[in-house]
Symmetry: C2
Subunit: 151 residues, 2 copies
């Protein structure tokens, strides 16, 4: 009965994605742990580096999590002095997040190792294939969000 269906033939894509996420995050945690950060925190810093002047709520939408979850993360980064926040003058509800010098220094400190981790992850794939992987993941992300590619 069910063994004739196609879904059982190959592992779910969701399973593969989860495995890669789990293994990659574990490696990234090892890299940034000496800096007193988690992989998630480091990743958030890289997002802030690419997107200045975002509020916590904007970051939450950008990252597919609730505003409350992002507030926890932002709070931890602020407590560590890696970011600071200031009130937006034109909309005083918003607390705009900015990297501090220390935050930038930590990003720089681990940039090479993180780049090397990503490179080791895609070892055996051609440059075109890596570009294709990136494009496919962006498509998946957009499809799951019901939105256009990436802000």
């Amino acid at each position: 009965m069910s063994e004739s269906m196609s879904a059982g033939r190959e592992p779910m894509l969701l399973y593969l994605i989860k495995q890669v996420e789990l293994a990659a995050r574990s490696r990234l945690d090892d890299i940034v742990r000496p800096g007193g950060m988690t992989a998630l925190q480091y990743t958030a810093l890289t997002v802030l580096e690419r997107h200045a002047d975002m509020s916590s709520a904007q970051l939450a939408r950008h990252s597919f999590v609730t505003a409350q979850s992002m507030a926890d993360l932002i709070g931890a980064l602020e407590a560590r002095g890696l970011i600071e926040r200031y009130r937006d003058r034109t909309d005083r509800r918003r607390l705009v997040v900015a990297l501090t010098a220390e935050g930038r220094a930590l990003l720089d400190r681990y940039r090479e190792e993180v780049t090397a981790l990503e490179a080791s992850m895609v070892t055996g794939l051609l440059p075109d294939e890596v570009a294709m992987l990136r494009r496919a993941l962006n498509t998946c992300r957009a499809n799951l969000a019901g939105k256009t590619p990436v802000p």
Copy 2:
């Protein structure tokens, strides 16, 4: 200074992978919640369907988690009656996991919806591109594990 480096140009692959995993898991949770399961539990059942007669420790290695983490998951599935365990006669340390009829029924009950979720996730990609995505993820998984593709 750091803005001339390549790492800052595009979002990290790790970030994209995490976003897709988060969004996809959330959708899968919605699908299987009526069955009283989490996405993780459903995924574990699909692994058991494809790999019979595995012990919890083997499953843990297969899934990149500790034996203790897998024991929690297996314990929940057993408590729900979706799997059962029996002692391996030739190695009495091992408790071999087997799907129950109820476990198979739940797999069948959600198979179509889960297949549709994966299909919707890769909407806009050609079949070749989906195959390439799967292959690339397998490569990443193997590279991160320091092992050969998949058991």
